[in-house]
Symmetry: C2
Subunit: 398 residues, 2 copies
């Protein structure tokens, strides 16, 4: 049974539009909101008053006159509540507290060496507890928790598989809701990153974009018509396991020639094992890691630079597949591999341009993340904020 229309729906739509307008373009007067939205002055007045009663909008004094009565400027009350965002990495937990506008208020980052489910869960709870305890007082308090995890999350928020964390079938959202008594939203890391860049980063001006998270593996977050597309069961975006060599290397996933075997951090580390590197690993071990390779590249060791080049080419191949598939306005490359932008970019773009149809070649914007390591954590907190507004029957992204 579809949702039918009534006056309540009308009010909900208009109230959302008014709030959204103020949120994105404040400070704004009631008159400006009226002319920006096309809503009648009186309608804006009454909706703004209700939003003020709900602490979501506040008056901030008068603005300059343009030949008449001075306008009363309105502001989105971004500190009406706070949201927790978590980027649950394979070897770290990055936790932030943000206001309703995505500004970071508190931040906490812990390294994880013991990857057992128990330990990770414990550390996760400690991190969240800490930012919640220190959160400033506000009308709504902590309105929710958003978490990005490196794995597959179904559309009920259940973690189904994490290739690098050995978590299987964990009801993370249930566990944390119980622990903290506030709504918890779990999504995969690439979706969170896509939301982060769309809301706060390089993707702000675009409504059809693909966020390509290149870390240990590769996952993509798909934003179409301004909204995340999660697939029928929540498992879209597993493009790391797209075949780009029909008879290529075997992958853990069961497939052969998966993109991430050639274009991810793991691909880089694997080919690095063959080289004897003159730089020590950061954790003292013998295995090379990304930081070691980056330092080697900075020292202009040709073998290492050429390795980045090869990986960059394979990234470009995948990007051309993405463009042919989705025809997005923009592709944003994020996660750890962005730190190697300097050595990846050129070979990547060369491969992309040489393989792409002319119509796409210069139409699609290819950029690196503008939020750096914070795409996913900000996206995660935004998911919580967005859910909060949903619960208030106000919608942010429409």
């Amino acid at each position: 049974m579809k949702r039918t229309g009534d006056q309540y729906l009308v009010k909900q739509i208009n109230k959302s539009i008014v709030l959204d307008t103020i949120r994105r373009q404040s400070p704004l007067s009631r008159a400006q909101v009226s002319s920006l939205t096309g809503l009648h002055k009186g309608t804006v007045s009454s909706l703004v008053n209700e939003l003020m009663e709900n602490d979501l909008v506040k008056e901030i004094g008068t603005g300059p006159s343009s030949g008449g009565r001075k306008p009363v400027m309105l502001l989105f009350n971004k500190t009406a509540g706070y949201a927790v965002g978590v980027d649950l990495g394979v070897n770290y937990i990055l936790t932030v507290l943000t206001d309703l506008d995505g500004n970071i208020v508190l931040e906490r980052n812990v390294k994880i060496s013991d990857r057992s489910t128990e330990n990770v869960l414990t550390q996760l709870k400690i991190s969240i507890r800490e930012v919640i305890d220190r959160s400033p007082p506000s009308p709504y308090g902590v309105i929710g928790i958003g978490i990005g995890v490196p794995g597959m999350v179904d559309n009920k928020g259940q973690v189904r598989m994490t290739p690098n964390l050995q978590w299987n079938e964990i009801d993370l959202s249930g566990v944390l809701t119980k622990e903290f008594g506030c709504p918890v939203r779990v999504d995969n890391e690439a979706n969170a990153g896509a939301m982060g860049e769309k809301q706060f980063g390089a993707g702000r001006k675009f409504s059809d974009l693909i966020y390509v998270s290149i870390g240990i593996g590769i996952g993509i977050g798909i934003v179409l018509r301004g909204e995340l597309y999660r697939g029928a069961s929540g498992f879209s975006g597993e493009m790391g396991h797209m075949t780009i060599e029909a008879n290529g290397k075997p992958c853990k996933c069961g497939n052969k020639g998966c993109w991430e075997l050639y274009a991810s951090e793991n691909a880089l580390l694997e080919s690095a094992e063959a080289l004897p590197l003159p730089v020590q690993s950061t954790d003292g071990g013998n295995a090379p890691d990304l930081d070691v390779l980056l330092r080697a590249a900075h020292e202009e060791i040709p073998e290492v630079i050429s390795m980045f080049g090869t990986v960059g080419q394979f990234i470009g191949i995948g990007l051309s597949n993405i463009v042919n598939t989705f025809n997005p306005e923009q592709i944003i490359i994020g996660n750890r591999m962005t730190t190697a932008e300097k050595w990846l970019k050129e070979p990547m773009l060369d491969a992309f341009h040489s393989r792409t149809l002319p119509v796409h070649r210069h139409r699609t914007k290819i950029e690196f993340s503008s939020l750096g390591t914070h795409s996913a954590v900000l996206g995660a907190s935004h998911l919580a904020v967005s859910d909060f507004f949903d619960r208030m029957n106000l919608y942010m992204d429409r």
Copy 2:
């Protein structure tokens, strides 16, 4: 400026819901519509009366009583107007006239041998003119023309490129609007096919599906949340040019190792050239064509059957990429290669299953087109019908 809410919007939403309910589940009484939609009896009555004034709904006498007054049964008036659908193939033009419910009333199929732009355009106009001239009288007459073309169509309806028809930058929609004086909707063949299957074929029950059109080349039509996704500029779905062999055969598109080089009709014909076939080509020439190969397969010639097997495997590889990317509920395979289902299916599914993540393996329904050669033409006519309802401020697909 976003669309704001007012009473007119409410009415539009509810009227659409009422019409949609009647269209899909008729015959229905006003009372049934009310309980199915949740709308008040009075509301349904007044909206139905308006729809009857607009000739979109009609009464069809009383139905059986269930212990009270007999209900007056309502029907969607599918013959209030007619739409033209065209599947513009590389070597044929299939034209139909359908009622508003997608039932074919007239059909015309012409073979094209002279592929010059002029000749194709002339033939196209003749075909359309003929079905329009013979269309039955109706309140709205011919409400529009929908056309599926084998190439790239931008979001303004301009044909930008047809790899197998040598059409470039043709304003097909402009030309035909001028000629016939009714709205023309041009889209690519895969999008039309996707819409056809979604509305009338195998995809009726699904809202996230991918239609894979395998003919001379490969294109896909993407239906997400019940709606076609066309990409930022209208060029989504060019998955035929997705790389599946990083250093594979060069393709006309500039890329290497494109999927359609291994999994399309062309791929089949190319490998067939190596074989001396004991069957004559249909047009008397020496070059093998699909029909010849199908006859050879029916005669159980092992080399030919194995060729189909190889192509089937490559199709399966691409399908697994599609599943990893979109996580759709369903994949529908359409266009000419469906005629080889018998020999393609098993190798295709084998490759697919062996390459797909366990979560997807049995969750995604993989089917062959249920409309056969008519997916695209019915989809095209539906696009015209759907535009017609848009113009009436009534929406079908929401």
